[in-house]
Amino acid sequence: MDDLYREQIIDHYKNPRMRGTLEPHDYSYSDDNPVCGDHLRIDLRVDETGRITEAAFDGEGCAISQASADLLVESVVGKTLEEVKQLSKDDVLELLGIELGPVRLKCALLSLKVLKAGVYGLEELEEELV
């Protein structure tokens, strides 16, 4: 448990750096985790070269999903959309630095799912994430 709720996660959960909304934005997507009713929205602004200049998330959910959103959104600023498309489950888990069972994995990956869905469209990413 100390692993699961290590300080960094509690900190990102209690004091998120990236919480907010961007209006207007270039990309935006929101989705739920049906398992717990968590909800997440991610907004992105992108420059002419396809590089993310600003990013924000909003929503509510557990420490894992919120900290993962905060860490992930923070990490994509400065990346290109193409680079975002390459992000994998392992990248998110590395950001979190913890191991997760199958149910909590969904919490952790909700942010990646929402981010990629915003960038590409939902159909394509479902495959990829499982």
Binding site: M1, Y5, V35, C36, G37, E60, G61, C62, R104
Partner: protein, 413 residues
């Protein structure tokens, strides 16, 4: 005040549940407080299944060989025991299904399909499990009838004045849960069916939480349909039952088509078999029905009144202790109005995180909407953490839960 004992010999009961000896991680014994999701199974149930497979396994009904006869007898004997357990007038009133969900869908797709239409009303409550809501939403979208809902107050009790008023709209069917799986609220079933019958409605009772935890007699509560799941009452997964009054069952069209539910088939058409077989298409969950029969025997031996009395002691103590935890908010009415289910929220901590931290100290609870999103919407919360108790839970397991909650406070307080 901490009770020192309850009406049940819990230590002895626990001997039948090997999983309760398990450690969740080295040195951390399991405290299983998730029986509202699914109960554990006693060895008596596992042995009944095992013995069926080792000695009597065969397909039923259509066989004349020894094993087929034994298997048929075992399956039908289980039906009889389940009929007795809930006070049905005849085993023919028991249809084996997979679970409560299938039972309710069966009623919707058969009774509902021929009795409901545009302009009709089906009256449910705001505290229904999705199983007693979504099937009616699906059917309403197709047939054009209207759904109405008895409101729930902040205590988690049905508004009985509103119920009376809504009955005035002349619903054709009233469906309500006997016991809420979120607040534990026990609805006054006999009173509600009497009122519904007086208003001319057919009544479906969702017994998923009541049948496992208290005496339920279909004739006493006068339900037309009662749905319940084996896996919540010490039985195996994969089997449940629908009770239906015989004349209703007889008048209903069949549910799924296939083997066993027919009398005669030609390429042009078919005629249906007698009840309850009309509703049991294909090879049923034979070993599971036998296992459920053994579960019913196990519960009957303890006595459902004793089960309920034990749980009353458990929940009263649990609520008392939960109230000590600063900030914790418990949903649902006073202990004497509910079953042994406590759902709560804790400021600053998501229900999932609470459950996870409790898990780390061995306490298994559930977090989420518990398949009752509308009730959570009513309470204006996305999710709760739920602890639920059964015959094998000890008083001191409540203390383990409370200790875990203090740990949650350390992290998230």
């Amino acid at each position: 005040m901490k009770p020192t004992t309850t009406v049940l010999d819990v230590a002895r009961i626990r001997e039948s549940f090997p999983i309760l000896q398990r450690e969740v991680s080295p040195g951390v014994p399991l405290v299983y407080l998730d029986s509202a999701a699914t109960s554990q199974r006693p060895v008596q149930v596992m042995q009944a299944i095992d013995e069926f497979y080792r000695k009597h396994n065969a397909n039923i009904h259509r066989g004349v060989h020894r094993l087929a006869e034994e298997a048929t007898e075992a399956y039908e004997a289980a039906r009889g025991r389940i009929a007795d357990f809930i006070g049905a007038a005849s085993p023919r009133e028991i249809v084996f299904v997979r679970n409560t969900t299938e039972a309710i869908n069966l009623v919707a797709r058969t009774w509902g399909e021929v009795n409901l239409g545009a302009g009709d009303v089906v009256l449910l409550t705001e505290m229904e499990h999705h199983s007693n809501l979504v099937p009616w939403q699906m059917l309403a979208a197709k047939l054009g009838f209207r759904l109405e809902f008895v409101p729930v107050d902040e205590q988690g009790l049905l508004d009985m004045d509103a119920y009376k008023e809504l009955l005035g709209h002349g619903p054709k069917l009233v469906g309500f849960t006997h016991m809420s799986n979120v607040t534990g609220t026990i609805n006054p079933a006999a009173e509600m069916t009497a009122m519904a019958h007086a208003a001319g409605a057919v009544v479906l009772v969702d017994g998923a939480q009541s049948v496992p935890h208290m005496p339920v007699d279909v004739q006493q509560i006068d339900a037309d349909f009662l749905a319940f799941s084996g896996h919540k009452m010490l039985g195996p997964t994969g089997v449940g039952a629908l009770y239906g009054r015989q004349e209703l069952l007889e008048a209903m069209p069949p549910f799924l088509g296939g083997g066993d539910m027919i009398k005669r088939v030609s390429l042009e058409g078919f005629s249906t078999n007698e009840v309850p077989y009309k509703f049991e298409a294909g090879t049923p969950a034979i070993a599971e029905a036998v296992g459920l029969g053994a579960a019913v025997d196990f519960l009957s031996e303890i006595g459902m009144a004793a089960v309920h009395a034990h749980e009353q002691v458990m929940i009263a103590y649990a609520l008392e202790r939960l109230e000590e935890v600063p900030g914790l908010r418990v949903f649902g009415p006073a202990p004497e109005l509910k079953g042994a289910v406590a759902s709560f929220t804790f400021p600053g901590a998501h229900p999932h995180d609470i459950a996870q931290i409790l898990d780390s100290v061995g306490v298994a609870v559930r977090a989420g909407h518990h398949c009752a999103m509308p009730l959570h919407q009513k309470f204006n919360i996305p999710a709760t953490t739920r602890a639920s108790f059964y015959i094998y839970n000890r008083i001191d397991e409540v203390d383990r839960l409370i200790e875990g909650l203090y740990k949650v406070r350390e992290y998230f307080g």
